[in-house]
């Protein structure tokens, strides 16, 4: 019986061209618009979740770390292992937005800048913001560090310094490092030889992570939209007395709700599959790296969206009411849950609020699923809250539908 109801929903979709466009053509289209915009975007104000590895361990580097920690808009996360490889993995997985690696002073090659900012493609823009913060900090508070780096070049140009000149230079540089504003602060070195900070992408080989992000983010937003639209048929069935007729049968109204849930989940899975297929073909998103996780996340995402939509339709009395409420809820969920704008660009408090939406969890699960080398377990963790929400919503939808039919 449940299959029969699901089949009717499928026929309705197939025979309604508008529904097909909404369900299968619009999502990849919107996704590609977002992917195109954000794959080359920059940003300004953001809260940067950053980790630091100080491999130099000098008084200056320790002071630099302390000063970075004091910058507004930068949250420092302590890494479990203080190695470049470990923090690089954190950035690659999206556990932090960026990492700062301060190299030891004994580095042989002076052309390698001593501070590296690691970003992944989706956090490249926050890496640039972090770079700006660091450049300003070094220029205003650590001018000696920068000038000390230029000294060998200067020495080469003047044909060598006497012992007295070297001592004087070192004294003055130390005074600069200790904050003497009268000496050289605010000057620009103007060349690569003095460059202290460099940016590095940890996922250069597939620099389309922002696209991957939006594949999951847009997919879930559309799952919510299209599920809400389809679930409204529950209200129409109430008004046309179909539900009365079904309630008189052996399956009762549960069959109608469960049949719709089955169809919406299946259709939602197809919609998301289409978006990722599109992302794979046109944006080279790696969907094969952790395919099983991707499938699990997609099915749970579709189930969650279906359940929430059926709950909304069961709770609403009229189609207009359901339309208004569902549009409002989907837009708010999508906006603060990260389906429209990446959450790392939002203020801290809003990022916190975002965890109250299924979007944030599903996007997190997709991030884990699309991380090449991640395990299925990593994806399952963020799926638990939306899965629980989905089960509760489905039970509530059945309960409310029964209450509307079986009147006390």
């Amino acid at each position: 019986m449940i299959l029969a109801v699901a089949k009717v929903m499928a026929l309705q979709t197939v025979r309604d061209r508008g529904a097909i466009v909404l369900a299968f053509i619009l999502p990849p289209l919107i996704f590609s618009i977002f992917a195109t915009i954000f794959s080359g975007a920059g940003g300004s104000e953001a809260n940067l979740d950053t980790t630091i590895v100080d491999l130099a361990k000098t008084p200056i580097s320790e002071r630099l770390v302390a000063r970075i920690d004091e910058i507004d808009g930068i949250t420092i996360t302590e890494p479990e292992t203080r190695t470049r490889e470990f923090v690089s993995q954190l950035v690659k997985r999206g556990a932090v937005d960026n990492a700062i690696v301060i190299l030891p002073p004994s580095s042989d090659d002076d052309s390698i800048p001593p501070i590296h900012i690691l970003s992944n493609s989706s956090t490249q823009m926050t890496g640039s913001i972090l770079n700006g913060h660091l450049q300003r900090l070094i220029q205003t508070e650590f001018p000696g560090v920068r000038m000390r780096r230029s000294a060998p070049v200067f020495e080469q140009l003047v044909g060598g310094l006497s012992t007295e000149q070297e001592r004087s230079l070192e004294d003055n540089l130390s005074r600069l490092d200790n904050g003497d504003d009268q000496l050289g602060a605010g000057q620009d070195d103007g060349g690569n030889q003095g460059q202290l900070v460099t940016m590095e992408l940890v996922d250069k080989e597939d620099d389309i992570d922002i696209v991957s992000y939006f594949a999951g983010a847009i997919a879930f937003m559309f799952l919510l939209f299209s599920s809400m639209q389809a679930a409204i048929s529950l209200i129409e069935e109430r008004h046309s007395s179909i539900i009365d007729r079904v309630a008189a049968g052996p399956g009762g109204v549960d069959v109608l709700v469960l049949g719709k849930f089955l169809f919406l989940t299946a259709r939602g899975t197809c919609q998301v599959a289409l978006i990722f297929l599109f992302a794979w073909i046109f944006y080279s998103v790696n969907i094969g790296g952790n395919f099983f996780s991707l499938v699990i996340v997609t099915i749970v995402a579709a189930m969650t969206a279906s359940s929430l939509a059926l709950f909304a339709a069961s709770a609403c009395t009229t189609r207009q009411q359901a339309n208004a409420i569902s549009s409002f809820v989907v837009l708010v969920f999508s906006a603060i849950g990260g389906s429209m704008i990446p959450r790392f660009l939002m203020p801290d408090w809003l990022q916190g609020v975002g965890w109250a939406t299924p979007n944030a969890w599903i996007i997190e699960a997709y991030k884990e699923a699309l991380f090449d080398g991640g395990s299925v377990l990593n994806s399952i963790g963020p799926l638990i809250p939306p899965l629980i929400a989905g089960i509760v919503a489905l039970i509530a939808a059945i309960y409310l539908s029964r209450r509307r039919v079986y009147i006390s």
Partner: protein
């Protein structure tokens, strides 16, 4: 003896009290509908017809008494496949063909897949839809949609068929066609309950009718008997006036035994008239200076009874 009674009466309602929350809509209602009988459930809006239909479908909490379908007491929330419901709305999927709708509702009625084709064929035959079986519901005329609505309700051969205003919004030709379908369904032995506001339809179709008033069916009986018991040899005089009457004119009509109809421009009276008394009635009206559009003399019908009962209820 009791088994025989159950066999003869697929629907038995005894001392039924039901309603929503603290509100009692049906109060000690009694009704039995026999096999092949068409029972007309009549009453004004809000009298409880829909509540009674819902209660028979197991959707309303029964406070006291019981409803038996095929000898089995119903429980709220449990399905009772003995019932076939024909709602007032077209309770079908408009984008599906008639046959596809029947297949779906056949499955939802608990029919096995193997039974659906033959059950659909029988339902299509009974409703005269065999030629339109593959047309989408949305492309059918109002009358054919109503037929399809009936077909979906009789697929599983229910022993009780509930019709809720089955001919609303259809033209006279289509209505007659639907009347034929309903009359033929009684041959299957099903007990049929028909709710309608169309008293002519009730008179034409129903073996018995009952007026739902104050939560109970009073009176119940064959249409002609109820009319005879209420009006005897009286005839109904109906006048339609062109202009609103003055107080003096109103008083004169009331004094002559007339009562105002629903529209306010129509007045009716039940009078014992001897041959040639029609002229006397006309004189009373003309003498009152009433500008009359029409005067009709007719035998009272169920609509007359309905109006009389409604008038009595309004004066209570």
């Amino acid at each position: 003896m009791l088994n025989n009674l159950r066999n003869e009466y697929p629907l038995v309602i005894n001392q039924l009290t039901a309603g929503y929350g603290d509100k009692t809509i049906l109060d000690g209602l009694e009704l039995s509908v026999g096999k092949g009988e068409i029972f007309g459930l009549l009453g004004s809006n809000g009298s409880g017809k829909t509540t009674l239909i819902r209660t028979i479908c197991g959707r309303v909490h029964i406070k006291t008494g019981y409803v038996e379908l095929d000898g089995e007491k119903i429980e709220r929330g449990r399905s009772h496949n003995a019932v076939g419901l024909v709602p007032q709305e077209i309770a079908l999927y408009p984008f599906l063909s008639v046959r596809e709708n029947l297949a779906l509702f056949g499955q939802l009625s608990g029919l096995a897949r193997t039974e659906i084709a033959s059950a659909s064929a029988a339902a299509l035959e009974a409703t005269g839809l065999a030629d339109r079986a593959d047309d989408a519901i949305e492309t059918l005329s109002g009358g054919y949609k109503r037929r399809a609505n009936i077909a979906a309700a009789i697929l599983h051969q229910p022993s009780i068929i509930l019709f809720d205003e089955p001919t609303v919004g259809v033209d006279i030709d289509a209505r007659h066609g639907l009347h034929d379908v309903i009359k033929n369904l009684r041959l299957s032995g099903a007990a049929i309950i028909l709710t309608t506001h169309d008293m002519n339809q009730a008179e034409a179709l129903c073996d018995r009718v009952g007026f739902l008033r104050s939560g109970n069916l009073v009176p119940v009986g064959k249409p002609e008997e109820l009319i005879e018991n209420t009006f005897g040899k009286k005839r109904e005089v109906v006048i339609t006036v062109r202009e609103t009457l003055s107080q003096n004119q109103t008083n004169r009509l009331i004094k002559a035994g007339f009562q105002r109809g629903k529209s306010g421009m129509e007045w009716s009276a039940f009078l014992k008239l001897r041959p040639n008394d029609e002229g006397k009635v006309a004189n009373i009206i003309y003498n009152a200076g009433i500008d009359v559009h029409e005067i009709r003399f007719r035998q009272p019908g169920l609509d007359s009874l309905f109006m009389t009962l409604a008038h009595k209820d309004s004066q209570r």
